[in-house]
Symmetry: C2
Subunit: 225 residues, 2 copies
Amino acid sequence: MTVKVITVGEKVLVANEVKAKENKDRLDKQRILTINIMSSPGAGKTSLILNTIKLLKNKIRVSVIEGDVASSVDAEKVNAVGIPVIQINTAGGCHLDANMVAPALDDLPLEKTDLLFIENVGNLICTNNYTLGEDKRVMIASMPEGDDKPFKYPAMFADSDVVIVNKTDLQPYLDFKMDAFRKVVTGLNPDVIIFPVSCKTGEGVADWVKWLEKAVKDKKTKKVI
Amino acid sequence: MTVKVITVGEKVLVANEVKAKENKDRLDKQRILTINIMSSPGAGKTSLILNTIKLLKNKIRVSVIEGDVASSVDAEKVNAVGIPVIQINTAGGCHLDANMVAPALDDLPLEKTDLLFIENVGNLICTNNYTLGEDKRVMIASMPEGDDKPFKYPAMFADSDVVIVNKTDLQPYLDFKMDAFRKVVTGLNPDVIIFPVSCKTGEGVADWVKWLEKAVKDKKTKKVI
């Protein structure tokens, strides 16, 4: 029974890669930097997007795709700050895939977009198996989840270009050891960039935004990013 | 493509139900109260189990099955306090299923067990679709994840007998509105029992343990629980 699931999964993954390549080609033609944001539930994906929009507004044109099992709570928050946003509800599915993203691209003003955030479903396991057409994968680890998460969800940490460690404002009340966390994450993924931030206080967000602005610029000038 | 996955999923779910019934019959015969513990990553499943063992030790005989994508970090913690434990690694699978649990039962001293905890993989989406043979489903919501999680993961909240709200020690530093959370959860699930706890300070854990002791007793005396 388990074997059945895995076999079908592999077929699905190959088909997904084909569609993801189509999405990527489309976004590359328009030179839109596309970021797939992944994390466990409540780690701060929408908060990071909203904080980033605040610093980038009037400089870089942002659009957003929101992925959730149910509700449009997050899309409404993005819409409230005047950013084009499409909500995908997966109806029980635990990750976005490239086929879900394709029609969302039709409904966004891509010709007026420099940076596209795709907020994935809150899940540290399946999301990283499905490429959506993104340039970069950004995962958020929330400090209250503990510093042992890289041991337990290694694939997610290994597959991410950037790891944002959010909720640093809670550090004084937690047993999270940043040095130990950093050591394990870079062991899994030597090229990873780690940004500790607090989306609540804004601490550290500017460093992430600086990295992002450079990546948007690089994508515009067609450099390999 | 999406349709394919769903179709196979349904077949798998039906087959899982059959195996889960076998597990349940086996555990019922031995009158072992079996609890399936679910939550997102880092919400405190293992901490809750360890806190509970501390209060129950010498009164109720506990065994544990630990489910994780990778590592045996949690099983080692349970083993360190002298409790029989089996680790299941799902090798990428985002939930336990009844077939994974069956051989773990073979390896546990069931004849010396009153209470079996099955700690599921950290995931708020797929875990609740797979019955394992449990009597009760307990989910943990971690306060730092935010009070909007019931909107976004409604099935998990609707399917749980008990919702533990963990990390209440962080409440002074969070915007978590307990009343609003409680209202939405009971709207989804009118029969749910909610226990606010802090596995760090121990606050509230005794209430949960009291409920659990009664459930163990009810199972022993063959009442419908």
